[in-house]
């Protein structure tokens, strides 16, 4: 009888621990989901004002500016319909080029400029990050605009 009680107590304790663990897990999961937005959505104010998200598109030709000291850069990301300003401090990835696809993760500053803490571009000339391709496809559908690069 005593052993049985002990066992039941252990099982109940186990279930409680698991339930707490599951709650924490799902909570952490939800708060770490990073959503993706196209430049059009960002310009239209659909992106969150606070918190991290991703944007993707093409780096607009002629938009890349380096500040004279340090490693801060500014560039514009476009989905061919709308264009947004991004600033980033750090070293850009190898395949970052004007006119090529890019994905940036970060948040909107108070001035409405996107402050990226990560810039991703993949290691293949023809390969477009899926988010960037998605943004272009959406813009194309809405505007019947031709994107400049594949």
């Amino acid at each position: 009888m005593k052993a049985r009680h002990k066992r039941i107590a252990m099982i109940v304790a186990g279930i409680v621990v698991l339930a707490i663990a599951a709650t924490l897990l799902l909570n952490s999961f939800r708060s770490n989901l990073v959503f993706f937005f196209t430049p059009t959505q960002v310009v239209n104010g659909e992106a969150p004002k606070e918190g991290n998200f991703r944007v993707g598109g093409l780096v607009e030709n002629g938009s890349l500016e380096r500040l004279s000291s340090g490693t801060q850069v500014k560039f514009k990301v476009t989905d061919t319909a709308k264009t947004m300003q991004v600033i980033y401090t750090g070293i850009l990835p190898d395949l970052f080029k004007e006119g090529k696809g890019v994905v940036a993760q970060g948040k909107l500053g108070k001035d409405g400029i996107f402050e990226a803490d990560q810039v991703l571009a993949k290691h293949d000339e023809n390969y477009m990050p899926p988010e960037a391709a998605d943004a272009l496809a959406k813009a194309q559908k809405n505007n019947a605009y031709q994107p400049k690069a594949k």
């Binding site: 924490l24 897990l25 770490n32 989901l33 993706f36 991703r54 380096r66 293949d124 000339e125 899926p130």
Partner: protein, 654 residues
């Protein structure tokens, strides 16, 4: 001609795999030993044919036969020979061929070992492996034929992705696949046990070395991949929680659980159904991992959908293998039985808890990996799950497991008591608490993360010594040397593997806690001091490699005036694919790595430069190596070599 021979042997191999996968099972149903005896010859014929096919494809790479589509798309005549041979696993089709080739290696190994087992059992075992092979070969022949011709032939190939042109990448995929596919043996053992209705201590003893061997390969494969990411991706990270990495990590977690659960099944005849279920899960996750990485579903769900034959086949195959195995498990598990009972406080329940922890950890990784794909596939938008999720959740889940890892080896089987455990471990706990506070205060930075990390590491390391001491004390031998000799290799293996995890956690904690990263703009001749190290930038010079051109920078590193290293990071351009690559330069050491990579060329010869100081980073891979070494030690245990002569197991020793 050669590629056609390769293709033809693959078709023949498929036919032999059909024989190997079906007739022995029919023999099992009808109790016909002639049919069952077909398993071994069919399996060997299949394995040899696949080997021929593999060699044919490698010959096509060797001979630069660009009339083969796959060769033309992953190789180039300027590619150094070693990378040409490795380019065979540089793409989807070749990787699948590598997969079945490695399955052939394991199958061949099983046929040599199998004769020691009862006929009914080994023929079923080999038949199950044959069925897996049938599925994979069908996939290759119908959707991913590496021998497909390109007419007219290409003048030259499109080159191997420059990222993969690295010695680490030559060995990483075969090692990883040896691990993935190795779990097919444990899977086949489990299915055979379910079909045969027989699962006992002997079964566990047969299965253990195979599972451990697969786990060793997987451990080494993952470690090599992580090391490669560290120096080749150029940005100093060693683990990104990328879906590709997670795909290999999930089978590893479940495989680790399986190794421990098999130990309990062998020692105590307990956890029987659970062990079978884990065998099924480990292999299912391996299959899932292979396809996640190789089907292109990660780059884009839509690419996956645009080639529906491949995608549908994969889903169907996964459904049949996983679903079939689980249905069989549900029907037959009662015949296998749950096994011996044990008390709430006992080594069994500690190992069970550890198993649950590992499975929950694998589940949380699975959630973070598959959820974005699912959302995307359902057209509900694009999301990504950030590394913070994995970091936080994974550490939180594993921490109690790591605590129990110190307790488990000193607890008694069947029934232990808490006061006894506390007495045994109080010094280990005290030592690790004090060191986890002392070390950071000496280093001058103490955060909760560093404290917890070091506490876990020191706890594991000190409890390893406690369990060694207890084992030595229990020995009846006179001299200390004899006492050491008496301990089995399997026990040493366990200690070394656990020690490896401790070393690994030291590495992770120290890197996360104390690393320095600086992105700088440097002029030629400029010096910069990073954490006591002086880096002087001496400019760049152009150099030429076999299939690339590069600008090579030179950094003169000193500490208080003494020369430490000259680091030469490169910025490479591979013209065939137009790919630019950052080649970092690292001065590795036991206590710290100095890591420099070139960013971009700015005006007037200045460059943007990234400099890292990474304390203890090598310990991460050293720890992984120790884990693998621990696995190897358990393999050389005499118990497993005399399996055949010794089917009735007396009291177990570990």
């Amino acid at each position: 001609m050669i590629p056609e021979i390769g293709h033809f042997s693959l078709i023949l191999a498929f036919l032999f795999a059909l024989i190997q996968g079906t007739l022995p099972l029919a023999g099992l149903a009808k109790n016909n030993s002639m049919l069952m005896n077909l398993a071994v010859p069919a399996a060997r014929a299949q394995s040899i044919l696949i080997a021929i096919s593999f060699l044919c494809l490698d010959y096509a790479f060797y001979a630069n036969d660009f009339s083969v589509l796959y060769v033309a798309s992953t190789s180039n005549s300027n590619l150094p020979i070693i990378y040409r041979l490795a380019a065979i696993w540089g793409g989807h089709e070749g990787s699948m061929l590598l997969w079945v080739s490695i399955l052939a290696i394991w199958t061949m190994a099983v046929t040599f070992f199998a004769k020691k087992l009862p006929l009914r059992f080994y023929s079923t075992l080999i038949a199950v492996m044959g069925l897996v092979s049938v599925g994979l070969l069908m996939f290759i022949l119908f959707t991913s034929n590496p021998f497909e011709r390109l007419i007219p032939a290409a003048i030259d190939g499109r080159d191997l992705n420059p990222l993969l042109q690295d010695p680490g990448m030559v060995f990483h995929p075969p090692l990883l696949y040896m691990g993935y596919v190795g779990f097919s043996v444990a899977f086949a053992f489990a299915i055979a046990a379910l079909l045969d209705g027989r699962l006992d201590v002997t079964w566990a003893r047969w299965t253990r070395p195979w599972t451990t061997a697969a786990w060793i390969f997987l451990t080494l494969g993952i470690a090599l991949g992580s090391r490669w990411a560290y120096y080749e991706l150029g940005w100093g990270g060693w683990w990104f929680w990328d879906a590709v990495e997670n795909a290999s990590f999930m089978p590893w977690l479940v495989g680790t659980a399986l190794i421990h659960s098999l130990a309990v099944t062998e020692k105590r005849n307990a956890f029987k159904a659970w062990t079978v279920l884990l065998s099924i899960c480990a292999f299912s996750l391996s299959l899932l991992g292979t396809f996640l990485v190789r089907s292109g579903v990660l780059t884009s769900v839509h690419a996956f959908a645009s080639d529906p034959s491949r995608g549908m086949f994969i889903l169907l195959f996964l459904a049949i293998v996983i679903g079939g195995a689980l249905v069989l498990f549900a029907l037959r598990a009662p015949t296998v039985g749950l096994g011996e009972k044990f008390e709430v406080v006992s080594r069994e329940s500690l190992l069970l808890t550890n198993n649950v922890v590992l499975i929950v950890a694998a589940g949380s990784v699975l959630l973070g990996t598959l959820y974005p794909l699912l959302i995307d596939a359902m057209g509900m938008g694009k999301i990504s799950v950030g590394p913070p999720y994995f970091d936080a959740v994974f550490v939180a889940i594993m921490a109690p497991g790591i605590f129990l890892m110190g307790v488990g080896p000193v607890a008694r089987w069947k029934k232990a008591t808490l006061p006894e455990l506390a007495t045994k471990l109080r010094w280990a706990l005290a030592v690790s608490l004090v060191s986890a506070l002392l070390v950071p205060s000496i280093l001058g930075k103490l955060t909760l993360m560093i404290f917890v990390g070091l506490l876990m590491a020191f706890w594991i390391i000190s409890s390893v010594f406690v369990s060694l001491r207890i084992r030595l004390q229990a020995s009846q031998k006179d001299t200390l040397l004899d006492k050491f000799r008496e301990i089995t290799p399997a026990f040493y293996g366990m200690l070394v593997a656990h020690l490896g995890l401790g070393i690994f956690i030291v590495g992770v904690t120290m890197v996360k806690g104390y690393e320095t990263e600086q992105d700088l703009r440097m002029q030629i001749g400029e010096s910069v001091n990073v954490r006591g190290f002086d880096f002087r930038f001496d400019g760049v010079k152009p150099i030429r490699g076999p299939n690339y051109v590069a600008k090579q920078g030179s950094f003169y590193v000193t500490k208080k005036g003494t020369e430490l290293a000259i680091l030469t990071p490169e910025k490479r351009l591979y013209p065939v694919q137009g790919a630019i690559m950052t080649e970092a330069s690292i001065s590795a050491g036991m206590l710290r790595d100095l890591y420099v990579s070139l960013g971009e060329e700015l005006e007037q010869g200045a460059w943007s430069v990234r400099i890292y100081i990474k304390p203890f980073v090598q310990w991460i891979w050293m720890g992984a190596l120790l884990m693998a070494l621990g696995g190897i030690l358990t393999l050389i245990d005499r118990r497993y070599r005399s399996i055949s002569k010794n089917l009735n197991i007396e009291g177990a020793s570990t």
